[in-house]
C-alpha cells in the first residue's frame, strides 16, 4: 500500500537529488554533456569563492535571523493577545491568516505597486502626511532595498505561525492557568513563566518550519527584485539557484548548490531540534 508513495518520492525527489550529488563532483561542458569529467570537490571550492553565492547565502542567513526574531516573535505575541480576549477571536484568526492563501506572485506584484515611486501607495501616504516621496527601490541604498524585499516575506507568514501558536495555547491545561491566577499571577507573569515555557514543543515545530520555509524563499524576492537587482546583491539562495539554472549552463556547479541547500536545511533544523529539545513532560 505504501509502494505508490515511495515510488513517487524516489522517482521525483530522491533519485534526482542523488543524481545531483553525483553531478556536483563533475564538470559539464554543456547541459547535455554525456561525458562530464570528474573534478572532485572543485565545484564546492568555486562556490565558496563565488561572491554572489556568498552574498546570497549571507542574505538568506540574515533573513532566517529576521524571520526567527520577527515572524516567530510577532506571531507568538499576536497569539498570546488573541488568546487573552473573548470576543472577535474568530475574526482575528481569519483575517490574520488571510495573506497566506494569496500567492506570493500576486503579493509580489501588489507590493511592486505599493513601492512605485510616482504612484505607489506608500509614497501617496507619505505625501498625505506631508513627507517627501521615497525612492524605495534605490539601488544605492541596499539596506532599504533589502528591507523592502524581506518585509512582505516576513509579513505574509506571520498568520501561519500565529494559528499554530494559538492552537497550542488553547491546548494548555486550564487548571494550571486557574491555579496560577489564584496564586496571584499577573497577566504578564502568566505569559512569561507558564504559557511561553509550556509552548516549547510547538515553538520547536514552528522554528523548524520557519527555517526550512525561509531556505525555500523564491517568489517574492524574484518578483520584487528580479535577478538580485542590482547586480546580484539581493539574491537569496533560491533566486540565485534559479539564475544559475537558467542563465548559466554549469550543471555541476548548480548541483553542488542544490546539495548545499539541502544540507543547510537539515543542519539548521537539527540545531533547532537540539536547542529546543522535545520535552515529553509537556
Amino acid at each position: 500500500m505504501i509502494i505508490p508513495m515511495l515510488a513517487f518520492l524516489f522517482v521525483f525527489l530522491f533519485y534526482p537529488f542523488f543524481i545531483n550529488i553525483k553531478n556536483s563532483f563533475f564538470e559539464f561542458d554543456n547541459m547535455l554533456d554525456r561525458n562530464p569529467s570528474f573534478i572532485g570537490v572543485a565545484n564546492y571550492i568555486t562556490m565558496l569563492n563565488d561572491d554572489t553565492f556568498i552574498r546570497s547565502l549571507t542574505n538568506t542567513l540574515i533573513l532566517v535571523g529576521l524571520v526567527l526574531i520577527f515572524q516567530v516573535g510577532i506571531s507568538l505575541g499576536l497569539a498570546l493577545l488573541v488568546n487573552s480576549i473573548t470576543k472577535f477571536n474568530t475574526f482575528f484568526k481569519v483575517t490574520l491568516f488571510m495573506p497566506i492563501v494569496v500567492s506570493a506572485t500576486a503579493l509580489g506584484l501588489m507590493f511592486n505597486l505599493f513601492y512605485d515611486y510616482n504612484n505607489g501607495m506608500f509614497n501617496q501616504i507619505l505625501l498625505i502626511l506631508g513627507q517627501e516621496k521615497i525612492f524605495w527601490k534605490d539601488p544605492q541604498n541596499l539596506t532599504r532595498l533589502f528591507a523592502i524585499i524581506v518585509s512582505p516575506v516576513i509579513w505574509q507568514y506571520i498568520g501561519f505561525y500565529f494559528v499554530i501558536f494559538l492552537t497550542g495555547l488553547a491546548g494548555l491545561s486550564k487548571q494550571i492557568m486557574e491555579a496560577s491566577e489564584i496564586d496571584g499571577c499577573t497577566g504578564f507573569q502568566k505569559v512569561r513563566h507558564i504559557q511561553v515555557p509550556m509552548l516549547r514543543n510547538i515553538t520547536r515545530t514552528v522554528i523548524v518550519l520557519a527555517i526550512t520555509g525561509t531556505l525555500k524563499v523564491f517568489d517574492l524576492p524574484y518578483i520584487i527584485s528580479p535577478n538580485g537587482y542590482p547586480s546580484g546583491k539581493t539574491h537569496f539562495l533560491g533566486t540565485y539557484m534559479y539564475d544559475k539554472a537558467f542563465n548559466a549552463v554549469d550543471v555541476g556547479y548548480a548541483a553542488g548548490f542544490a546539495v548545499f541547500m539541502v544540507l543547510a536545511g537539515v543542519l539548521m533544523s537539527l540545531i533547532a531540534n537540539v536547542v529546543f529539545r522535545h520535552n515529553h513532560n509537556l
Partner: protein, 280 residues
C-alpha cells in the same frame, strides 16, 4: 482600580490586534478598489472610492487583451485539481499503512517522508528537468503535475497519518470480525471518519499547487499552457511598468477568487493546519 487597569489593557489589546488585522486586509481592498478605476485616477488618488470614475476597462484589457487569463485559470484548475486528486489517492493508502500496520522499516519510511519536506524544489530541478525531457512530458501539464504530487506527498501523508492514528480502532476491529477486508474497512470506515483531515489536506495541496511559481515557470514555456501565476508574472515583466491599471486588475483576478473561497472554507483550513502541525 484593578478593573480599570484591566479595561485599559483590554482596549490596548484590541487596538493592537485591529491595527494588525487592517494591515492584513487593507492591501487587498486597495487592490480591489483601484482595479475599478481608470489608470490615471490610480495615479492621482489611490485611496478614493471608484464612484465617479468607475470603469471595467482594466478587467477588459486583462481578460480580452493579448493574454488569455480565462485560459490560464482553466490551466491552473486542471493542474491543481489533478495534483490534489493524485495526492489524496496515494496518501490514502500510505497513511493507512503507516498508521495501522507494524512492519520492518516503518521508522525509516516515516523519516523519509519527513525528510522529503526538507527538499526544496531547487535541489532537484536539473536532473528532474532532464528526466521530464526523456519522458517527453516537459512543457506539458503532466510535467508540472507529477513533480508537484511528489512535493506534496510528505505533508499530506504526515497530516493523514496523524489523524488516522487518533481514530479509535474498535470500529475497524469489529468490522474485521464481521468479515470485512482491508479495503472495505478503508472505504467504509477510515476514509469517511477522516473527512475533515482529507478536506484540509486537499485545500492546502491545492493552494500550494495553485500558488507555485518556480516549477510552472521553468516547465511551461508555452503561454497558452501557463497557469495563472506564471502568466501574471509574464504580464508584469512585459508591461507592468507602464500600465498600472492592468497590473491592479491582474492581481485582483488572481487574489480575489482565492480570498472568497478562503472565507467559505476558513474553518477547514485553519482546523486542518493545526491538526497537521501540532501533532507530530
Amino acid at each position: 482600580m484593578r478593573n480599570r487597569k484591566k479595561a485599559i489593557s483590554k482596549g490596548l489589546i484590541y487596538t493592537i490586534l485591529s491595527i494588525w488585522a487592517i494591515g492584513c486586509i487593507y492591501p487587498f481592498i486597495w487592490i480591489l478598489i483601484n482595479s475599478f478605476k481608470d489608470k490615471n485616477q490610480i495615479i492621482r488618488n489611490s485611496f478614493s472610492l471608484p464612484i465617479k470614475f468607475f470603469t471595467l476597462d482594466n478587467y477588459e484589457s486583462a481578460i480580452l487583451g493579448r493574454y488569455n487569463i480565462l485560459q490560464a485559470y482553466l490551466n491552473s484548475f486542471i493542474i491543481s485539481f489533478s495534483v490534489v486528486i493524485l495526492v489524496l489517492i496515494i496518501t490514502t493508502f500510505s497513511s493507512f499503512a503507516l498508521a495501522r500496520y507494524q512492519f520492518k522499516g516503518k521508522k525509516l519510511i516515516y523519516a523519509l517522508v519527513i525528510a522529503c519536506m526538507m527538499f526544496p524544489i531547487f535541489s532537484t530541478i536539473f536532473p528532474l528537468y532532464k528526466m521530464l525531457v526523456s519522458f517527453k512530458i516537459h512543457g506539458t501539464h503532466l510535467g508540472v503535475i507529477l513533480p508537484q504530487v511528489a512535493g506534496n506527498l510528505g505533508f499530506a501523508t504526515i497530516l493523514l497519518t496523524g489523524f488516522i492514528q487518533n481514530i479509535p480502532t474498535e470500529v475497524a476491529e469489529s468490522a474485521y470480525l464481521d468479515g470485512a477486508n482491508v479495503f472495505q474497512v478503508m472505504r467504509h470506515i477510515t476514509v469517511p471518519m477522516s473527512k475533515s483531515a482529507y478536506s484540509s489536506a486537499a485545500i492546502f495541496v491545492f493552494l500550494w499547487s495553485y500558488n507555485d511559481l518556480f516549477l510552472q515557470m521553468l516547465i511551461l514555456t508555452d503561454r497558452r499552457k501557463m497557469p495563472i501565476s506564471a502568466l501574471l508574472r509574464e504580464i508584469s515583466s512585459k508591461e507592468g511598468g507602464t500600465n498600472q491599471g492592468l497590473m491592479v486588475a491582474a492581481v485582483a483576478l488572481i487574489a480575489i477568487p482565492i480570498i472568497i473561497v478562503y472565507f467559505f472554507l476558513q474553518k477547514n483550513i485553519i482546523k486542518g493546519l493545526t491538526a497537521g502541525a501540532v501533532k507530530e
